[in-house]
Amino acid sequence: MSGSVSDHPVAASEQAAELGWVFVSGPDGDRQLSQATAWHEDGVYTLRSAEFDVIAEDEDFDVAIDIFVAWLIDYAALLAERVDSRKATEDEARTFAVLSARLFPLLREAEQEKRRHIRRRRAPSTGHWRHQETQANGSARLSVA
């Protein structure tokens, strides 16, 4: 699940951050991973999940998205361990349920795609970012949050 970008955030600070979704494209279409805020400050793109305790940053927005996805997977793995060992709190168990419902189909698709890729030598699936497109926030997405 390496990343590519269709749209870069232009908000210059966290206070003006743009709201959107991080998607991952797979053979069965786009799947949403997490709602997130994004901004570009001091030459660094930052993506902060609005749903999970995950943040990612890089000078390259494509890379920031890839890192965001990797952190989500690592966070889900941490939660899985805590659920398995019965250490998870109610919040963690609930978060794991939400996160795993989004990640597991992607991981399954990625694995299937990897197998197909090996057979067909095709490019892997890619992640990308989209602004949240509603009439209400579409025109005002750069305004102060």
């Binding site: 966290e14 930052t46 902060r48 943040i55 940053e57 890192i67 690592d74 941490l78 250490k87 709190t89």
Partner: protein, 106 residues
């Protein structure tokens, strides 16, 4: 004097010391989990993420860390430098479950 703002590795060292927890290795850094009981008696776990793929962490990383630890953003440097794991747990345990869940900046 060098501080955690100078490098991601220094930040990682500071978070290790502050949380007193063994990290879980991640693809681009480490995750730390601090478990406490909230002031209203509910178990809560604070997950702290330290990304080391960039050499110098941004302001956003420190703000995110402060938000997760439920401390004022302007105090995160002195907390990373001076608080003990026991002080951190005492602070977190003084908050209600809803306060611990919040990510609104202080």
């Amino acid at each position: 004097m060098a501080t955690p703002r100078d490098s991601s590795k220094r930040l990682r060292t500071a978070v290790r010391r502050l949380t007193g927890e063994s990290p879980r290795k991640a693809t681009h850094g480490e995750l730390f989990c601090v478990e406490v009981a909230s002031a209203d008696g509910r178990p809560h776990a604070v997950t702290v993420q330290v990304d080391t793929h960039r050499k110098v962490p941004s302001k956003a990383v420190f703000n995110d860390l402060a938000d997760r630890l439920r401390v004022p953003r302007r105090q995160i440097d002195e907390i990373l430098d001076g608080w003990s794991p026991e002080q951190l747990r005492k602070h977190l345990s003084s908050l209600t479950h809803e306060q611990l869940r919040s990510r609104t900046p202080l």
